[in-house]
Amino acid sequence: MRKLFLFLLKLLMFSLCFFVIWLLVGEYTLLALGYVVEVPLKLWGYQPTGLQIEGKAIHFFSALPGRSRVCDVELTPVGIIIFLSLAFATAPVRLKRRLRSALLGLLLLLAFHAVYLTLRVLLFSPADTSQMMLVRFLAPAGILLPVALWILLFPTGLFGFGKPAATQFRRNVCPVCGTRKDDVVAHIVQAHGKGKKGLKSRMARRYLELYGE
């Protein structure tokens, strides 16, 4: 319970911190994202002539008549705040690894938003075409992606919960029945089998993770 409480407390604290940071620097982040998006737009002949941040939206101006677009980007800060809060609340991860994974995740998130915004600008159509359906389908991934990246880059996060603590295991004690044995793995196979009640049981798997074979 302590582990769960600490995680949730840290998650709340970090999300508040990143929220405040976003309020201070969010506009510049969106501006940087807009400049990144301009590169593929140029390549696809959109002829961008500038951009402007308008609250929660980026306004892309084009030299082509009637092609200037306003794109809401509220899911960008949502994704970044969620991912970074989860990344920093996860324990135990070494600082260097945490920073590396957090940076990688952040770059992937921004890359996703850059692709999404590019598609939105290029494929925009007022009619409900299949292209617009694709763009609308991608939008909520902005919420899902931070959670998925957290699971991928910090597997100790989600998969660290619900596991028996390392302190519950002793090297020479069978994790299934609690008998003291010299060769615990051999004992598990012999007495409990290789199935879900033996070697594949949650306790046996955790034992093998800690002490190997």
Partner: protein, 180 residues
């Protein structure tokens, strides 16, 4: 001791990859439903007027004169229209996908869903009530609350719920007393 490949327990990486494949597959399939049907499924659309009536009920308890007309809730000098996204569909799909994909017994998955779904709906209702109050008393903060604050809060709530489910319901097995 030599053991055959089949008896090896699945590694964490394999577990995570399997989880992510099922998770993304389920989420994409469930999220794709509205786009294939070109509308939200009847169950989700049916949830809109129900959510609206719940919201109306709570607002009237708070002393507002409320009028609920289908999915539209008018109160004080304002009104809110409850669309499918306002019912917590994204959060429900996210929670469902994680719970089904996570390696755990079916009974615990069902128990998790039975507990999680009502809690998500309740949290979503709480979110709507707070947003209705923000719209009434501090309308300048409505966009901020709607698009930033509550989106983050809802997803963090779902993650917290998932972690609670794993830690407390999927849980750890009891430590056995040591015997010789």
């Amino acid at each position: 001791m030599a053991r055959d490949r089949k008896s090896k327990p699945p590694s964490r990486r394999r577990q995570v990859v399997k989880f992510l494949v099922i998770f993304f597959g389920l989420w994409a399939a469930l999220w794709a439903v509205p786009y294939v049907l070109k509308t939200f499924p009847p169950g989700v659309r049916g949830l809109c007027p129900i959510t609206a009536s719940w919201l109306g009920g709570i607002l009237s308890l708070l002393g507002f004169k409320v009028n609920v007309d289908g999915v539209f809730v008018s109160y004080g000098s304002n009104g809110l229209s409850i669309i499918a996204e306002c019912t917590g569909y994204t959060a429900l799909v996210l929670f469902f996908s994680v719970v089904v994909a996570y390696p755990s017994p079916v009974t615990k998955k069902l128990l998790g869903l039975a507990i999680g779904f009502p809690l998500i709906l309740a949290f979503n209702l709480f979110r709507l009530v707070i947003m209705a109050l923000v719209l009434q008393y501090k309308p300048q903060y409505f966009d901020f609350a709607h698009l930033y604050f509550w989106q983050v809060a809802l997803i963090i709530f779902v993650v917290a719920l998932v972690v609670f489910w794993i830690e407390k319901l999927v849980g750890r097995e009891k430590t056995l007393p040591v015997s010789s």
